[in-house]
């Protein structure tokens, strides 16, 4: 785990409140895996006090660049969106375990909800070499990052709650309709908790292995504060250091 002052190469809005940032750091690009995350200090002040957890969404080894996509939610991500290229951010990473990716000849479903689609990019890139990757991307209204997924996906299903683009409704519904046809035998999912809980149930029902990337409010991000502990069938686990990726069958979802 490194604590690094990293130069921001680029920071740009891609749509509405969604931003793409490129951060330069050789070591983190070398060590980082899909599904791991960074803890970013967005300024040098006491407000915001805590670091903000953001996934490693893409790694460009040759450029020494980590790509993150983030949605402006509150004070921290707002400040992050105002960072200019050339500025320095203090970053801890790579954190967490990341996705288990040692598979071949599988039919894999990537299911992302909202900004939860982003961490699936690096994952899809790595998996698509030796597996078939079907991507399912769910959004509220506007869609984004489909182009990235097209690069490695066999097919893409897109839904919006508003119906503006793609299927009107929840992405899980598209997935449910296709999972038999596409002979899905492995699921990777990232998004809001209710979505993950539903996917976990579908996976169980259909006897499909499923990895979910969870979110919890974090103080440290490296296992020290116990702020992110969740119940699993193997006892309490820390989302930051035992996760954020878990087998869906392990997780006891909160109500």
């Amino acid at each position: 785990m490194l604590i690094e002052n990293c130069r921001v190469k680029k920071n740009e809005k891609i749509i509405e409140d969604i931003y793409k940032m490129e951060i330069i750091n050789e070591q983190i690009t070398k060590l980082g895996k899909a599904g791991q995350f960074l803890q970013i200090k967005v300024n040098n002040q006491d407000t915001p006090l805590l670091r903000r957890p953001i996934s490693i969404n893409e790694i460009k080894i040759d450029e020494k660049v980590i790509v993150i996509y983030y949605k402006v939610i509150g004070k921290g991500t707002k400040l992050l969106s105002e960072v200019k290229s050339g500025e320095i951010l203090n970053v801890i990473g790579p954190l967490g375990t990341g996705f288990e990716t040692n598979y071949e000849e599988k039919s894999i479903a990537l299911i992302g909800g909202g900004i939860g689609v982003a961490p699936l990019i690096e994952l899809g890139k790595r998996l698509s070499d030796r597996n078939k990757v079907y991507s399912y991307l769910g959004f509220a209204d506007n869609t984004y990052l489909e182009e990235e997924f097209k690069k490695f996906s066999t097919s893409i299903g897109v839904s919006t709650v508003s119906g503006r683009v793609g299927y009107k409704g929840l992405v899980v519904d598209i997935f449910k309709n296709e999972l038999i046809d596409k002979k899905i035998d492995l699921i990777f999912a990232c998004g809001p908790n209710p979505m993950l809980r539903e996917i976990a149930e579908i996976a169980k029902l259909n006897n499909i292995e499923c990895q979910v990337s969870l979110e919890e409010r974090m103080a440290c991000g490296f296992g020290a504060c116990l702020g992110c502990s969740i119940k699993t069938i193997h006892g309490m686990k820390k989302v930051c250091s035992d996760g954020p990726v878990f087998w869906s069958s392990e997780v006891i979802f909160n109500d």
Partner: protein, 306 residues
Amino acid sequence: MTKSLNTTVDIGGLRINNPITVASGTFGFGREYENFIDISKLGGIMAKGLTLKPREGNPTPRIAETSSGMLNSVGLENPGVEYFVKNELPYLKSKGVTVIANISGNTVEEYCEMCNILDNTKTDAIEMNISCPNVKQGGVAFGTDKDIVYNITKEVRKSTNKPLIVKLSPNVTDIREIAKSAQKGGADGLSLINTLLGMAVNIKSRRPILRNNVGGLSGPAIKPVALRMVWQVSQVVDIPIIGMGGISTVEDIIEFLLVGASAISIGTANFINPRVTTDLLKELEKYMIENEIKDINDIVGKIKPY
């Protein structure tokens, strides 16, 4: 140069190499920080709060950020005192770490039993937490009544030969009364302050952010309250004080020493900079050299109030 500096301090019969310790619940059992620093450099580690039996703690969300502070409602998740003695303590001691076990109980008997268990171990001292605001039974009740504080300290005192440090809650009308009771009951030292009870609200869901509704406020926001309490208490007790609450810079450390703390603990700041402790230790030595302070004890309590 550094050689001629004395940074060792006494915290109630236990001498530690330097006044920089880490606050219970913010440093786990030390392992997580080994990725970042040499933990044996610390004055001591207040281990994660222990209970007699393992506890799962409260459901999440357990963390909320506030202006210059954070709320936590971890609720004493821990593997229990026996697990600690078997699996964590030997490791820490093998690394040469000074270990202060932090204990919380629901009853006086539980505290005493935990002391009995710890007494035959290499634990260097016991920090008795009578202040955790997250546990409904016990917690708050113990730490907020001076008679109870006196009684529990007296009983627990009998159960251990280790230095006994009582950790006080700031959620009281007069911290001096509580501190005096702890001293009278036999405490060798005092730790203060624990977290202030606070709350945060999500206006969209119209629910508290914390699943436990309320939680403990820590971080720079509480430093003025902590400094005031350490100063007040240092005027009415003779035992060493470990000061804490929002410390994140070397200036903060000096402030706490000046108002009467013999040592300090760093809590929340570890989450933001996991190297903060060893960074500040270097800065403290630099400060001593620049200000020609040979012995760190020379500045303890040296504030000149008006």
